[in-house]
């Protein structure tokens, strides 16, 4: 599973992405975030306000209950400000 971070989430995490191998019980974005947060203080802090975070799985916008599986590219970022 490849995680990608953008904008201030990238800054807070200190990396632009990471390859992870999460436990089997992680089935959706929400449980993935819970797992990311419990790893260390930095991750816990970066994901403290989920209302300001958007998610994409394999480059498509998804909701927090969207399923995730091994091999997915999962991105976390603030609301976009393009244009």
């Amino acid at each position: 599973m490849n995680l990608l971070y953008f904008a201030w989430i990238r800054i807070k995490m200190g990396v632009s992405g990471e390859h992870i191998d999460p436990p089997k019980n992680i089935k959706d974005i929400e449980s993935l975030i819970d797992w990311i947060k419990q790893r260390n203080t930095i991750s816990n802090e970066a994901f403290s306000d989920i209302s300001n975070i958007r998610f994409a799985v394999n480059q498509e916008y998804v909701d927090i209950d969207h399923p995730v599986q091994p091999g997915d590219e999962i991105a976390f970022f603030p609301p976009v400000t393009g244009g």
Binding site: F6, A56, Q59, A75, F77, P78, V80, T81, G82, G83
Partner: protein
Amino acid sequence: MIRVQSADFDVGLELKKLTEGNRQIGAVTSFVGLVRDITGEDTISAMILEHYPGMTEKQLVDIEYEANQRWDLNSSLIIHRYGRLGPGDNIVLVACASSHRESAFDACHFLIDWLKTKAPFWKLEETSDGDRWVEANTKDDIATARWRK
């Protein structure tokens, strides 16, 4: 056609290419977004546009496809820059060519409204008061919502 690039673009040249050889085109509407030197109370010295390579292109292709489904366009173009830009620099160009002006206007307006809320870009402004991430604007969500069928 969509392009995501750090290099600047030449609006006149791009519009010329958009209509070249197609004499059924009666209307070309374009939008250019530029970096302003002031937002709110702070002076901006530069803006860094970060994006999500791969997803950006995918979203732009999808948005352009939808515009061409909804309106009868002869051609359309989206160019979005990324990287470090200064005040007055071009950020984005959207252009639509059609036989009639209403299609060209509506499709162009639709595209820029959707870009604002769907294209995975994030703006970091370097201001006199320090660096600051531009926050998403609820006005943009409202502008986009009115295009929902």
